[in-house]
């Protein structure tokens, strides 16, 4: 019975870290893409 609590605790920790790392990686990739697109847009604009 106590083993179930032990497994649950470690599962929660690793799941929590995994979800956070995945969301951080997704956010970073999306931001990198946005930076690239915005720089391209700015480069295409004629100088004032």
């Amino acid at each position: 019975m106590h083993d179930a609590f032990l497994i649950a605790a470690y599962a929660v920790v690793w799941l929590g870290v995994l979800v956070y790392v995945t969301s951080l990686a997704r956010r970073s990739r999306s931001l990198e893409r946005e930076v690239r697109e915005l720089r391209e847009l700015l480069a295409r604009r004629p100088p004032p």
Partner: protein, 236 residues
Amino acid sequence: MTETTARTRNATDVLLPPATIGAMMAALYLIFVVVPTDAFQGPVQRIFYVHMAMWLATFTAFGLVALASLMYLWRRAPEWDRRGRAAAELGLLFCTLGLTTGSIWAKPIWGTWWTWDPRLTLTLILWMIYAAYLLLRSLTTDPDQGASLAAILGVSGLLDLYLINRAVYWWRGIHPAVLVQRQGGSGLADPLMRVTLVVCMLAFFLLFLWLLRLRIGAARLQDTVEHLREQLTASA
């Protein structure tokens, strides 16, 4: 940025991931293979190693938020704001995991998932303070005003951190103070238990540092996006 600083940053980025993974493997090996089972609590005591490691990461993160907030209020430099934001998000992650692992440990040992013990209550308040810090950042329309208000909240969290540290001595709740005293013959009686705790804390501290660097990188990208958007609007 000087050349030496850049070299140190590159070396850290290269060394941190393998050091974290190595320390994590060693911690798991010690927890599940080497360390003896606690005579009073049984296998569930092994939760304690990861639970304590969560608090080291949490307190470091929130301590960093307070430092970064103070520096931001003093210097108004965006880099300090980014560091504060990144540390607050990670602190909240590790605080959530610390509260959850504590609750899972409490059910078989105390017979309840939660009790309004002074240390537990103050920790829940700590979680709320930094959740409010992040919420404030996302709700305010003026970024400078949001950063300043959040910085004030970030510094005020220090008082709660101090109260959490003193709670087991001042109010005598049921939360154990295993690092400083053995209660009911339990605690860290075996030297192997103490070694395991140190290795586990080191592993999660390295994980925290690694994630912090990644999160600060993402915050820099976010600021670049906002800066580029402003440039585009200005040139339209």
